[in-house]
């Protein structure tokens, strides 16, 4: 079984490495600023005693006032996992840096989030719709979407 790493342990490391990057640290999730997401993820992936080298999923939630993109990372070597969160506060054209260059598995899942929630991932190699067709009006999983 994979044990969730308490966010506290990671936060102290992240705060030392990237001061000001961590906005909020809950019991099991770390909320980071969007502009430092890529650096934080790279640090979590490559640092020796962390080695979060496996991306479980990318998903997103619409909270009306902001969108939250959620990443779950797992360290296969240390058998632990952690949840990263990023928020974007604009409703028209929200943007988050892409992790597709870091984790290959993020490629399709970020496209899915773009397709259904309308969040653009900056630096993604192929940012276009994946399930719905070209010309579909709007993003159906947004709370304010109506056909």
């Amino acid at each position: 079984m994979i044990a969730a790493l308490p966010a506290k342990d990671i936060v102290s490391k992240l705060n030392a490495k990237f001061p000001g990057a961590v906005e909020e640290a809950g019991a099991d999730a770390v909320l980071v600023k969007a502009d430092s997401l890529l650096a934080v993820a790279e640090y979590l992936k490559t640092t020796d005693n962390l080695k979060f080298d496996y991306l479980n999923y990318v998903t997103s939630i619409d909270y009306y006032s902001y969108f939250e993109v959620i990443y779950m990372l797992t360290s296969l070597t240390h058998n632990r996992s952690v949840v990263l969160k990023v928020r974007c506060y604009t409703r028209d054209n929200p943007t988050v840096p892409s992790l597709a260059g870091l984790y290959e598995g993020a490629n399709f899942q970020e496209r899915e989030v773009y397709d259904l929630m309308g969040i653009t991932f900056e630096g993604h190699p192929n940012m276009k719709r994946i399930f719905l067709w070209e010309g579909f009006d709007g993003y159906p999983l947004r709370k304010d979407w109506n056909r």
Binding site: K128, W133, E134, R147
Partner: protein, 209 residues
Amino acid sequence: MEVNKDYFYDSLKLDRQEGKLIEKTKAASRKTIPDPDAWLDEDIKRNIVVTSLDWVVNWARRSSMWPAVCYPACCGMEFMAYLAPRFDGSRFGMEIMRASPRQADLIITAGTLTWKMAPAVKRIYDQMAEPKWVIAMGACGISGGIFRSGYNVVPGYNKIIPVDVYVPGCPPRPEALIYGIQQLQKKIAKAKAIPNLSELPNPLKRGKE
């Protein structure tokens, strides 16, 4: 050497073309497809007279229905059970599945159809040779089922192709499908397979009409 760039496809261009095709299918679905059973009512009113040649042709047609491969979702599992030895679909002359629609004369639409898939199903139907029949299998095939209000689900196959027999259930048991197929066979038995000579275009009378 000059390279003809027309043969290189831009993926975004292809996507846009696909999107246009889907929107076209969607727009066309607003028009109701005429009921393929309308002739059945008329013939019953007039009392059915089927000649012996009709009877032979209809017997051949209804006893060797070859279904096309078109199973978008979970009703396909029940269809597999129907074809497998326990329910044994070959008793009804349809053990041969046809991957090519040109050799098939029946679509059993087992499952939810999304709008993205709809042009493909329409294309399979259009490629089949006459005479052809459609069985809408399961709640999704009939009306969209529990996904009916979804943004990407076709609310029933009869929005895009004419349906002959509806088999309800979610999914229907193989027995239900067998009953539906028998109903279709009964319907085919009533069809007038050979047209009257007077109704055929006469090549000798060319120019007069």
